[in-house]
């Protein structure tokens, strides 16, 4: 993505007005700029044109199955944890036409969708979501079958991370090594120090170019120390923890653990966790034809392993029980992903916990299964 791991030492101090300059600089480069905005009872991605569009003085209280926006008594712009939408939808679309076949009589011809990707710049991407993009890149670009649509969109994107100083009640990025500090995968990274100043780091040559156009001051050692301290404090305030040591194997070893039945009794099977997850990439394909037979289309849509249709093969669905579907998801995220792609499939953003209507907590489930303390009951 043009972002390298070489260290760009140019940490700088940015005043709040610098954000306006940053937005203008990105707009000059033909980016549509998106950032966190307050709408529909949430702090979620939306178009921004000035720093004033950012949610200054807003935060969100997050807990299992619950999310509420609230006012803060300061004017910080990035003092909240990851919101409802991930960046997934911008790069790995929720619905997309793959190709269509059209005919006015015979012969027919195939029309492939070739759209120029939108040039999107995101300001305020949480480190967990930056890490999630790296995971999606691994699956959708660097695996055997790259997805050209995803790749094109990713290559035309610009990422301004915002390191986390206000983790939420369901956050556990620290456990997953994904936050609260973004180590790589961004063009620029901000750390908000107070209402008016931010530390900015460069993560790519493009980021450096943009920073050169923005008024900034060199960041002294004391400023860097303040940023480090803010993130160290954030690590201590993570709402959740997940002990990942030996977890992958423990999940493999405990397929019939009674915890799976317990969680399946509460699980609605609605699929919200997978749709809210920044790394769940499953899609399904469907073929449709028009009523007059002149046009047929192959479409793809986000899918979920919580649906019965997801595991449908000739004769029926492989994973019939809610238990098997829930177990499939948790074990894929936290163990099978590792064998498949070499990374965990979870970044600890906590969205599956918050956006589960009944507040099922993956960290609790994983810990209960890994503990192996519960006696294995006879299967009914």
């Amino acid at each position: 993505m043009g972002r390298d791991s070489r260290s760009h030492d140019a940490a700088a101090l940015l005043e709040a007005q610098g954000l306006d300059e940053l937005i203008r600089s990105l707009e000059r480069r033909d980016y549509e700029v998106l950032g966190p905005t307050v709408h529909d009872s949430a702090i979620d991605w939306g178009p921004i044109h000035a720093a004033a569009d950012l949610p200054a003085g807003w935060t969100a209280t997050q807990a299992p199955g619950s999310y509420r926006i609230e006012r803060r008594d300061d004017a910080r712009r990035f003092a909240f944890a990851a919101g409802p939408s991930t960046l997934k939808r911008y790069f790995h679309e929720a619905e997309r036409s793959v190709f269509s076949v059209e005919s006015n009589g015979s012969p027919f011809h195939v029309v492939e969708k070739q759209d120029a990707p939108r040039r999107l710049a995101f300001i305020g991407v949480r480190p967990c979501d930056v890490a999630a993009l790296a995971i999606l890149d691994r699956v959708l670009i660097h695996d055997r079958f790259p997805d050209p649509a995803y790749r094109a969109r990713r290559e035309s994107s610009f990422i301004v991370a915002a390191n986390c100083t206000e983790p939420g009640g369901a956050c556990f990025c620290d456990s997953m090594g994904a936050g609260p500090h973004a180590a790589s995968g961004f063009d620029l990274a901000l750390t908000e120090l107070d209402d008016s100043t931010m530390l900015v780091e460069c993560g790519s040559a493009r980021g450096e170019e943009v920073l050169r156009e923005i008024p900034h001051a060199p960041a002294g050692k004391d400023v860097r120390e303040r940023a480090r301290a803010a993130m160290a404090a954030a690590r201590k305030r993570m709402g959740r923890k997940l002990n990942t040591e030996g977890l992958a194997q423990a999940l493999y070893d405990n397929f019939e653990h009674p915890e799976w039945e317990k969680v399946a009794a509460r699980c609605l099977g609605c699929g919200n966790c997978t749709q809210a997850c920044p790394t769940c990439f499953c899609i399904t394909f469907e073929d449709a034809s028009d009523i007059d037979g002149s046009r047929a289309e192959r479409r793809r849509r986000w899918d979920s392993c919580f649906t019965l249709s997801h595991s449908y093969i000739h004769g029926g669905s492989v994973r019939q029980s809610p238990k098997s579907r829930h177990r499939q998801w948790v074990t894929h995220k936290l163990s099978a992903w590792e064998s498949q792609f070499g990374t965990p499939g979870c970044v600890g953003c906590g969205r599956c916990i918050v956006w589960c209507p009944v507040g099922i907590d993956i960290t609790e489930t994983a810990a209960a299964v890994a503990r192996q303390t519960a006696p294995v009951e006879a299967r009914s």
Partner: protein, 260 residues
């Protein structure tokens, strides 16, 4: 469907408001194409030309609430190669199935000046309790695009793309912020079948389950969660007892709770 002969379609009405069959007339952009692609042989709501059966497809709207209905659905079944129920009434008994928990005779006595003229069954029942049903289109009313999709699939001889998972999937695809989580509003989306495009939540109104239960809904767990969040049994009952009240998974949500 390899034959060149057009599919003969018939539309039948039982106890209902006509909203579902009107969806066909409401399919403005597609209506002419539909009329060209199939032979609408019997559609009293739209045309006086009523051709006799048999029909390739019978679209059945409404629930069974009289002896006459119960007889008629048997005849309809015999005349239709495929029978498709359209809408909540035909599929689960509709809003009128609320009588199933009450005394219908008492309603008749209260409402009508001459109750003797009203012949009605004690229960409002779905079509599938009377005859085999080949396919269901859900909703109150149905989504006209799903009806066009079903007819298109039938003509092409392919599987119709009618999802059976939750409304939540559609909410997330269109990036609607979850009303249950962000506002604490009780929403039936997690147990309700998709197909409406998650219409109500997109306008700030929680799902009231008009598409009925999805393929494997955990309604008991959702009802338990509503109770844990402070909703009374009466409130929960009202939520589950609306357009798809008589669907067994929705019934189970409140009946098992009462026993518990």
């Amino acid at each position: 469907m390899s034959s060149e002969r057009k599919q003969r379609i018939a539309i039948f009405k039982f106890a209902s408001c006509d909203g579902c069959q009107l969806s066909l007339l409401d399919a403005e952009d597609e209506l002419l194409k539909v009329a060209e692609a199939v032979e609408i042989a019997y559609f009293p709501e739209a045309s006086r030309a009523m051709m006799k059966g048999p029909y390739d497809v019978g679209l059945v709207e409404g629930s069974i609430i009289t002896h006459h209905d119960a007889d008629k659905i048997q005849q309809v079944r015999r005349q239709c190669r495929l029978l498709v129920t359209i809408g909540a009434c035909a599929t689960s008994g509709g809003i009128q199935a609320l009588r199933n928990w009450k005394d219908a005779a008492e309603f008749v006595r209260t409402v009508y000046p001459s109750p003797d003229f009203v012949q009605t069954l004690k229960m409002s029942t779905p079509i599938a309790e009377h005859v085999p049903v080949d396919f269901e289109l859900r909703g109150c009313p149905i989504n006209k695009l799903q009806l066009v999709e079903l007819l298109s699939a039938l003509i092409a001889g392919r599987k119709p793309n009618i999802p059976t998972y939750s409304v939540c999937m559609e909410c997330k695809r269109r990036a609607t912020v979850c009303l249950a989580v962000s506002r604490g509003e009780p929403c039936l989306g997690p147990v309700t079948m998709a197909g409406c495009g998650a219409l109500c939540p997109a306008y700030g109104r929680p799902c009231f389950g008009c598409f009925g239960p999805m393929d494997s809904p955990n309604t008991v767990a959702l009802a338990a969660d509503f109770a844990a969040k402070g909703h009374s049994h009466a409130e929960i009952e009202r939520l589950f007892r609306s357009y798809s009240a008589w669907a067994w998974q929705f019934r189970r949500a409140t009946e098992e709770r009462r026993q518990a």
